[in-house]
């Protein structure tokens, strides 16, 4: 099932407020449009008919336009009323967005990078923290506060089914409180141009019932297992002695770098390259060999390595469920 990305199918409290405001705006604008069309057609209908012989109408130069003045004044007042109504609706929506109760909220930290999302589940107990990338899991009906930071340039997080946009600004920390009401899979997208691969910077939000979320959460806390098969063992050695560990982390090993996504549970993710391609062994091998083929300009370098080494790496990464 491909994730949904629709403003008009809100799946959360915040998005519902925004969708509500959207419908009010559409309704007011539609009313104004219809009123203007009617006035225009009416004016066309009652306009004086004339031919070449008709003398010019100079009435407006001699008589006061008291009637026109009344109509214009009335229309201006009506327009002002409509705009003020929209302003009130907008302020009310903002107030509603700010009033989301946050007791017992889950804290998630999202850091925008060119061009992927670094996700941290923080906890006062350091043993209960973990990180993942390009995906967020949240439970239904529980408030979540997403803390937004940027590592390089300005990004913007937009999960249309759950909330409006909010920027990720280097050196600043912003928050985005959300609450999902409907389980499902929703697509988020970087909404601020951030470089060559801006369009391929996607994030999946998985909204799960609480028990399923707890299961996922517990699984994420586990360290990577020791590889059993020979190929995976060789891949493990290559990972920890080669290029990979210079940028990536795998919990439970000596790989601890933070410049690329955490790979502790890479095999459980659905996509590679922030939603660019499906996470299959073939794609993984192609991605390691030349990520620039899928995302030109990506920070991960190409690796021209022997096929046996590549297969061993893919075999090892496949065990990181």
């Amino acid at each position: 099932m491909s994730p949904m990305q629709r403003v008009l199918e809100s799946a959360g409290t915040q998005a519902a407020h925004i969708e509500h405001l959207w419908w009010i705006t559409v309704a007011v604008c539609a009313l104004v449009f219809v009123a203007i069309m009617i006035a225009w057609l009416w004016a066309l209908r009652r306009a004086p008919r004339a031919d070449e012989a008709t003398p010019p109408d100079v009435a407006i130069a001699t008589t006061a336009e008291s009637k026109s003045r009344r109509v214009v004044t009335g229309a201006v007042a009506l327009s002002a009323l409509g705009l003020v109504a929209l302003l009130v609706a907008s302020v009310q929506t903002d107030r509603a967005l700010a009033k989301l109760p946050l007791e017992g909220a889950i804290g998630i930290r999202v850091i925008g990078h060119q061009w992927w999302w670094d996700v941290y589940y923080d906890d006062p107990d350091p043993l209960k923290t973990f990180s993942t990338a390009n995906e967020i899991y949240i439970p239904v009906g529980k408030p979540v506060v997403i803390t937004l930071q940027a590592a390089d340039v300005i990004h913007s997080l937009w999960i249309p089914n759950l909330h409006g946009k909010r920027d990720l600004i280097p050196g600043h920390t912003l928050t985005m409180p959300i609450k999902a009401e409907k389980a499902g899979k929703y697509r988020a997208q970087c909404a601020e141009f951030c470089g060559l691969q801006h369009a391929f910077m996607a994030l999946t939000v998985n909204v799960l019932p609480q028990p399923d979320y707890d299961r996922w959460h517990d699984a994420q806390l586990q360290s990577a297992p020791e590889p059993a098969a020979d190929a995976a063992k060789r891949g493990h050695d290559l990972f920890l002695s080669g290029d990979c560990m210079m940028c990536h982390a795998i919990q439970g090993t000596t790989a601890n770098a933070r410049f690329g996504p955490d790979l502790t549970h890479i095999a459980s993710r659905e996509t590679l390259g922030a939603g660019r391609i499906a996470n299959t062994p073939e794609n993984m091998a192609a991605w390691i060999a030349d990520p620039g083929k899928f995302k030109p300009g990506v920070n991960m370098p190409a690796h021209r390595v022997a096929k046996a080494d590549l297969d061993a790496l893919v075999a090892y990464l496949g065990t990181l469920k």
């Binding site: 390089d152 060789r234 050695d237 290559l238 920890l240 002695s241 080669g242 290029d243 990979c244 560990m245 210079m246 940028c247 000596t254 770098a257 410049f259 030349d290 620039g292 083929k293 030109p296 300009g297 370098p301 190409a302 690796h303 021209r304 390595v305 022997a306 080494d309």
Partner: protein, 192 residues
Amino acid sequence: MNARFDIAILLFAALVAALLAGCDRELRKLSKPDSGPASPAAVAPQVEIQPGQSGPGLKETVAVRTFDGNNAYEMNQGKKLFRWYNCGGCHAQGGGGMGPALMDEKWIYGHDPDQIYETIMNGRPNGMPSFRGRIPEDQAWQLVAYVRSMSGLASKAAAPSRADGLSASPPENTRAHLTPQDTGPQPPVKTP
């Protein structure tokens, strides 16, 4: 035709040529060249020290020299990698610490790009680890381009003009060109 007009045309042509020469400053070679000289026979690193866990490392099957000392993108990538790969852990921001300074005129193992490349990839005695199999070759060449810019050996028009984070030293493009003095044993320069 008067001589003044000819000189004006010549000056204009020179100006256009100079401007066109700047076109490659930002050129980004986003994909690695597919073909290149076959990978050289494995050279035993000069030192046993290696960043990360010791083991087989990832041997590249295609060796391509991608050094471009006048390209802003390559140098800036090198500057980023200098931080990412913790070169600053020993060399600080170029002023030196546990390792030698990189922003002065002294080059113990040579200032030629090929010599710096060998220093990074093979390591050097007394502390410089071998990065062969630890970083891809094109990244090593980016680091070479950046390291040369630290003492003003790169084109001022292309050297980094700002840092992403706080910096203790002036930007690379403002540094004076320091005539390199090779002080230690000189590894041979392979490519002309």
